[in-house]
């Protein structure tokens, strides 16, 4: 980011939440870069930006779409970059119909399932067909949603049958991606931005000028976002919209460009790469699903085709190496490498479905590992009530968090919904080790693995997760040792023999070595692998996470590399290790022009050296190192060998950056504005109010507020958004027990504008009660002109800011009502993330009632608003307003 000429921070309060990372924004600004903060609230980031542009929460696609439209219609796009490196010239199949044609729906919407059949969005094939997914063909969106398939594109794009696409390099054919994108965003104008986002035309022009003036050969613009973009019912599309804009402006794969995901936990990137997630195996391989991946052949056929371009064509090598790492000798060619040892998915098994499974008494046991869902997950009340249905739970944490004590001091004990003496749940609290009491690696937000050395032993009975799970595994295996039940084979055949120290603590470097992988036979048998390109599908290699292969090359722990930054160049390649292959900027071949020359001296990074016949530069080239810029191999050869010299996006099935996504997205191939599940504003762009493919849960315990245009919307007239503070960390488990941090931010508050305070009679520093259809909470009132009422569609929209760090319990240094109790559960269909950055509420002065009266207040609001289980949950807002979808005619 330090190399950027313009930085747009949107969906993030970076200076507050990533303050030390923000020094690089400050550095860019000191060198003359323009920094613009687009956010519902004026925050610490706004204070140190060139400009703050207030936006209505949830309207980001309107703004981003208008930027795309402006760039295209004013001919400001980077022609050589777009023509060569994106799919702009690729033809889409004739059956495709845009949201413009169908009142806000794309072709293929199945109203019965509330999901798309995405097959009509495919690229046109020679002849009449469309280029499908490999394997049995296009997966219905309802099924792909259920396995949160979008998440498996964390290290590259969705697979295609082959990459023999049809192109029109003049970009004039109406079926080209470029023309489709142009038409799709034609009505996303500055005036629409004014009407829907509450942003003036002058502010829009300032933003678009800053971005376009700072993009091109000599200059680059960077976007940064955080959960302000992800936590929406169409969150993945917010980021896609930014990706389209950045591709059009040629800002991907270049220094000072890109879209920075600012993640919020020390190793949340690592826990996605090596996923403690239901839908993934290590390295973004999907968990197998019954019916789609019943055999290894079926599985491999669907995750990558040998006929597509790039490195995902070798997914068989990554998969079989993982199975060898886990099951060693028991994984062999005769049993398909123990593929059937893997359990199968049959639907969405994400954390919110799991909580509903607890309420249905399907889940008996629950482990909480450094996470506090009673405070930190959406719909806290549902979380806590669900835990009361468990037979047993294990909480492993540093402190007695609310998720460990809800049975004695949670809000439902106070409200009378639960009685401690009636709760059957057994609770084990096991104290955990802190980051300095164990060695291991974190993967930070830019994919950099950094090793921590152990400073001291953990106190008392505190243990690392490594030791706890190693010992739990040992005990389970001992207890099952004599079992001849076939179901126990995966546990008994598991490679689980890590060297330990004298306290029984396993050696984390041995685990890292297994993740990295090794040769299993041949002259190098036993030696660590150096790169994922060495992985083989014949059982001769093992690797626990293919994208991390190389971190332990030559038997050296490269995550522990610590050459001081001041002794290195800007890429600092000898500090830690970045996946893949220690590359610091992904897709960096795009930093050079199609002929392999840097786009400009100023933005020089990786280039083709004709004399040496290879790519060289300031980073590890993210490209086959000897593939000449002008090479055009036959695409039918497939795999890395099929990549042309101008296919910089080597993990994409066609080597190109996708403006239009023919596969992979489940709620539309192009980002389209829909209102949030709850919104006081009607969608001015389409008759369709909410994203038709969003995941709704019509249940009595998950009511939604009525949206604009329906009865009762005025009962919950205000928008609230949740956020973090510098001095606390998410649900507070690592901050509200620390006296220093508790003193700095002692209590829950709400931010309101002076206008809203007047409208509702709120006293500064007094109490307010905030009411949603799920719950009501109280907070101290902070009246501030940092909150600006916005004029939207002729009405005033008031927004309320709520930090979410506090929870109700007796053990922390500071406690308070939890903002997440106000939220319901509505999810993005691609990744199953909840919408928690925008919802509807009312606010009034005074503290909330206690006991049963609290429940009565919430119920009384619901009654007045006429909330039922159907409210807000229709997939299609107004079926008669949609056009005719030709794909549904037969």
């Amino acid at each position: 980011m330090a190399n950027a000429d313009c930085i747009v921070i949107q969906g993030s309060n970076m200076a507050e939440c990533h303050p030390v990372g923000y020094q690089w924004v400050a550095e860019a600004k000191a060198r003359g870069a323009k920094v613009i903060h687009v956010d519902p609230r004026f925050t610490r980031t706004s204070a140190v930006s060139d400009k703050h542009i207030p936006i209505r929460a949830g309207s980001d696609v309107v703004l981003l779409g208008a930027l795309i439209n402006y760039v295209i219609s004013n001919d400001l796009w980077f022609k050589e970059y777009v023509g060569a490196y994106t799919n702009a010239a690729t033809l889409v199949h004739d059956d495709y119909r845009d949201a413009e044609d169908l009142g806000g729906l794309f072709s293929g919407f199945d109203a019965g399932k509330g999901a798309y059949d995405t097959s009509s969005w495919g690229y046109a094939e020679r002849g009449e067909g469309a280029i499908d997914e490999p394997g049995p063909g296009s997966e219905h969106g309802a099924d792909a949603t259920a396995r949160a398939a979008g998440h498996s594109y964390g290290s590259g794009g969705p697979p295609l049958e082959h990459a023999e696409v049809q192109r029109d390099d003049s970009l004039q054919d109406p079926r080209t991606v470029f023309q489709i994108v142009k038409r799709h965003y034609a009505r996303y104008t500055a005036e629409m931005v004014q009407d829907m986002c509450g942003i003036s035309v002058a502010d829009f022009e300032y933003l678009v000028r800053a971005i376009t003036d700072n993009s091109g050969r000599d200059r680059t613009t960077c976007f940064a976002y955080a959960v302000g973009w992800t936590q929406h019912s169409l969150g993945a599309q917010f980021i896609r919209a930014a990706a389209i804009l950045q591709l059009l402006l040629g800002n991907m794969g270049r220094p000072g460009g890109g879209i920075m995901a600012l993640r919020g936990h020390a190793s949340i990137q690592g826990s996605t790469d090596i996923p403690t997630l239901f839908n993934l195996l290590p390295g973004y391989l999907p968990m197998p699903s019954a019916g789609r991946h019943d055999s290894l052949d079926e599985y491999l056929a669907t995750i990558g085709s040998k006929q597509q371009k790039g490195y995902w064509a070798n997914a068989d090598a990554y998969t079989i190496s993982l199975l060898k790492a886990w099951w060693g000798e028991a994984a062999n060619a005769d049993n398909d490498w123990a593929y059937d040892y893997l359990p199968r998915l049959t639907g969405a098994h994400g954390t919110y479905e799991t909580v509903m499974g607890m309420l249905d008494d399907e889940v008996e046991g629950y482990f909480l590992l450094g996470q506090n869902p009673a405070v930190g997950s959406a719909h806290g009340r549902m979380q806590r009530l669900a835990m009361a249905h468990l037979k047993w739970m294990v909480v492993r944490d540093l402190n007695l968090i609310e998720s460990a004590t809800w049975w004695k001091d949670g809000p439902e004990i106070e409200s009378g919904e639960l009685r401690t003496e009636d709760i059957e749940t057994e609770v084990f609290f096991l104290p955990a080790a802190t980051h300095v009491e164990k060695a291991g690696s974190f993967t930070q937000t830019q994919r950099l693995l950094q090793w921590r050395h152990k400073a001291v032993a953990p106190p008392g009975e505190c243990q690392s997760e490594l030791q706890f799970f190693f010992e739990l595994g040992q005990r389970i295996r001992e207890k099952l040792a004599d079992s001849d039940d076939e179901r126990d084979r995966p546990l008994l055949d598991l490679t689980w023999d890590y060297p330990t120290d004298k306290h029984g603590d396993p050696d984390p470097e041995a685990v890292l070595a297994e993740i990295n992988g090794r040769h299993l036979d041949g002259p190098d048998a036993g030696a660590p692998l150096s790169a994922y390109t060495e992985l083989r599908a014949d059982g001769s290699t093992a690797a626990g996470c293919w994208i991390y292969t190389g971190v332990y090359a030559d038997g050296v722990n490269h995550a522990a590399n610590r050459k001081p930054g001041q002794e290195q160049g800007p890429a600092a390649s000898e500090w830690g290790w970045a996946w893949p292959a220690n590359r610091r900027i992904l897709y960096n071949r795009a930093s050079a022009d199609p002929a392999g020359k840097p786009w400009s001296e100023r933005k020089k990074y990786i280039w083709w050296d004709q004399d040496q016949g290879k790519w060289i530069g300031d980073d590890v080239p993210d490209f086959p190192v000897d593939r000449a810029p002008g090479s055009h191999p036959d695409p039918s050869v497939g795999g890395p060998e099929a990549l042309s010299g101008d296919d910089p996006f080597i993990m994409q099935a066609d080597g190109k950056g996708w403006l239009f996504a023919p596969k992979g997205l489940l709620d539309g191939p192009l980002p389209t504005h829909y209102e949030a599940q709850e919104s006081p504003v009607a969608n001015a762009l389409y008759p369709q109010q909410q994203s038709p493919a969003r995941l709704v849960f019509p249940r009595a315990d998950n009511p939604s507020a009525p949206s604009a245009g329906t009865k009762g919307a005025d009962i919950y007239p205000y928008v609230f958004t949740t956020y973090r503070l510098t001095e606390h960390h998410t649900a507070g488990g690592m901050s509200r027990w620390l006296p220093y941090l508790s003193e700095l931010q002692p209590e829950m508050f709400c931010e309101v504008s002076p206008e809203l305070a007047t409208e509702r009679g709120l006293e500064p520093y007094g109490w307010a009660t905030i009411i949603s259809p799920r719950s009501a909470i109280e907070a101290k009132v902070l009246v501030t002109d940092r909150m600006v009422p916005l004029k939207v569609g002729g009405h005033t929209v008031h927004q309320i800011g709520l930090p979410y760090h506090w929870g109700v319990g007796n053990n922390a240094v500071v406690s308070g009502d939890a903002a997440n109790d106000l939220l319901g559960v509505t999810l993005d269909p691609n990744v199953q993330i909840q919408e928690s950055k925008v919802a509807s509420c009312d606010i009034r002065p005074g503290r909330r009632p206690r006991g049963e009266e609290l429940l009565a207040l919430v119920a009384e609001y619901r009654e007045r608003a006429g909330v039922t289980m159907e409210t807000g949950n229709a997939a299609v807002t107004n079926p008669s307003a949609e056009g005719v979808d030709p794909t549904l005619e037969d």
Partner: protein, 144 residues
Amino acid sequence: MVQSICPYCAVGCGQRVYVKDEKVVQIEGDPDSPISRGRLCPKGSASEQLVNSPGRQTKVLYRAPRSTEWERLDLGTAVEMIADRFIETRRRTWQQNDSEGRLLRRTMGIASLGGATLDNEENYLIKKLFTAAGAVQVENQARI
């Protein structure tokens, strides 16, 4: 002094952990880090207190069904009891096949949440063990 990394957000600031007599006495920013150049935010600066906070729990606690209070349990007993419950729940809730006879090989009776604050090596063992046991409902903050 050992080199470490801040445990809060994902910027990954370098830390220097100072130890005296087997106790952490101070945690400071690591000036060698090309990411943070010696700086820490209020949370990172307070992380010595994360280690030494007086409210930190260092003993195993157990709450029996219907009980109103915690009781003490030694670690070995707790791990033994958890292993028993794990095996019992797994047995009781096992699903070998679906209604069409397709392999499932799993339990929907055991779930887990957490990992974003943990090490890669820890997440690896958690995912490996749970997957081998057939427990698919493994999740963390990345979903949230």
